[in-house]
């Protein structure tokens, strides 16, 4: 059985994704909607992103992308590959 609504807490990375997506969406309403409306829309939007299966999946998928540990070009074989940095060196 599905255990919906999923109320497991979001990770800090997932919270950050959710916060940014809502801030971006709400920016369009600033100056149009009252602060009360904006606060309500944020509250309702947050709950939707936390609990809806599709929204939650998308938030998790985006947050799962780990930031690269080092900057610079990604080698052809992928970061951490034994082949990295060797290609084209001959």
């Amino acid at each position: 059985m599905s255990r919906y609504p999923d109320d497991a807490p979001l990770s800090p990375e997932e919270e950050e994704v959710m916060r940014k997506v809502l801030a971006r969406g709400l920016a369009k309403y600033r100056g149009i909607a009252s602060p009360e409306f904006l606060a309500l829309m944020n509250e309702v939007g947050e709950e939707g992103l936390r609990t809806h299966p599709l929204m939650r999946t998308l938030v998790r998928r985006i947050a799962a992308q780990k930031a690269p540990l080092v900057s610079g070009e990604v080698p052809k074989g992928g970061r951490g590959s034994d082949e990295s940095g060797k290609e084209g060196a001959s």
């Binding site: 919906y4 994704v17 149009i32 009360e36 309500l40 939007g45 809806h52 998308l58 985006i62």
Partner: protein
């Protein structure tokens, strides 16, 4: 068919209902906590059960990814509907949740594959869904506000009067150049091109000045406690005389 003419639940519908029972219990607790004002979850659970049977009878797989999610949202809407004695603020809160739940109850995306789609595509889809969710919420809020204003014309009238008075005050506080430009644009109804000619500045300058002048005005209005445009009122079209309350003589 039973005595009331309704078809008896099919085995599938009974299974859906049975599996959704914990979801309805959760919805009842949530609505009682947020909107109940003393109403017990048990009373709302009964409302939710009634809604659950109706939703199960209507449900098709193409409606939603997940029956339990669909039922949860439809049941919450039914429970809030049962709690109609509310303050104006509570009515706005309920409207926001109603708009969101009715949108989310039907939100699905059959083309998304978590294994195939990358972060960028996932982000695009999330932003699209979030934007639509916020739009549905805003539309529900605006509609409820219109109903509230219609029910209380005195309050709406007072809001308009306060906003006009604040506008007149704010216009006295902004720089003279900003006041003159806004007067040209919004009272004399000049276009940006015409205002540029009147003021002997370039079009780009007058456009930039308009944005700055509006920002000044907005800040002053905020300080005076006006944080939104009063809702539009029904009635005869403006003939222009009261469009600009801060006319010559300063009488709003």
């Amino acid at each position: 068919m039973n005595a009331e003419g309704a078809a008896a639940p099919t085995v599938r519908q009974q299974t859906l209902v049975r599996e959704a029972l914990p979801v309805i219990e959760r919805a009842a607790k949530d609505v009682a906590r947020r909107f109940g004002h003393g109403t017990s979850p048990r009373e709302l659970y009964a409302v939710g059960m009634f809604a659950l049977y109706r939703v199960a009878a209507e449900f098709e797989d193409k409606v939603s990814h997940d029956f339990n999610d669909h039922a949860y949202r439809r049941a919450r809407t039914a429970m809030r509907e049962a709690l109609r004695v509310e303050t104006r603020h509570a009515r706005r809160v309920r409207a926001a949740y109603d708009g969101a739940d009715m949108f989310l109850a039907y939100l699905r995306d059959d083309t998304y594959n978590v294994l195939e789609h990358d972060e960028e595509e996932s982000r695009r889809r999330l932003e699209e869904s979030a934007d639509a969710l916020l739009a549905a919420t805003f539309a529900a809020l605006a509609a409820e506000q219109q109903r509230l204003d219609a029910e209380d014309p005195a309050a709406a009238e007072a809001e308009h009067r306060d906003a006009y008075e604040a506008l007149a005050q704010a216009m006295q506080r902004i720089p003279a150049w900003a006041e003159r430009l806004l007067r040209l644009l919004f009272f004399e109804r000049q276009t940006l091109v015409e205002a540029a000619v009147t003021l002997s500045v370039s079009y780009a300058t007058v456009r930039r000045h308009r944005d700055e002048a509006l920002a000044f005005l907005r800040d002053e209005l905020h300080k005076l406690g006006v944080d939104r445009v009063p809702p539009l009122r029904d009635g005869p079209a403006n003939d222009g005389d009261d469009v600009w309350p801060y006319a010559e003589g300063g009488e709003p």
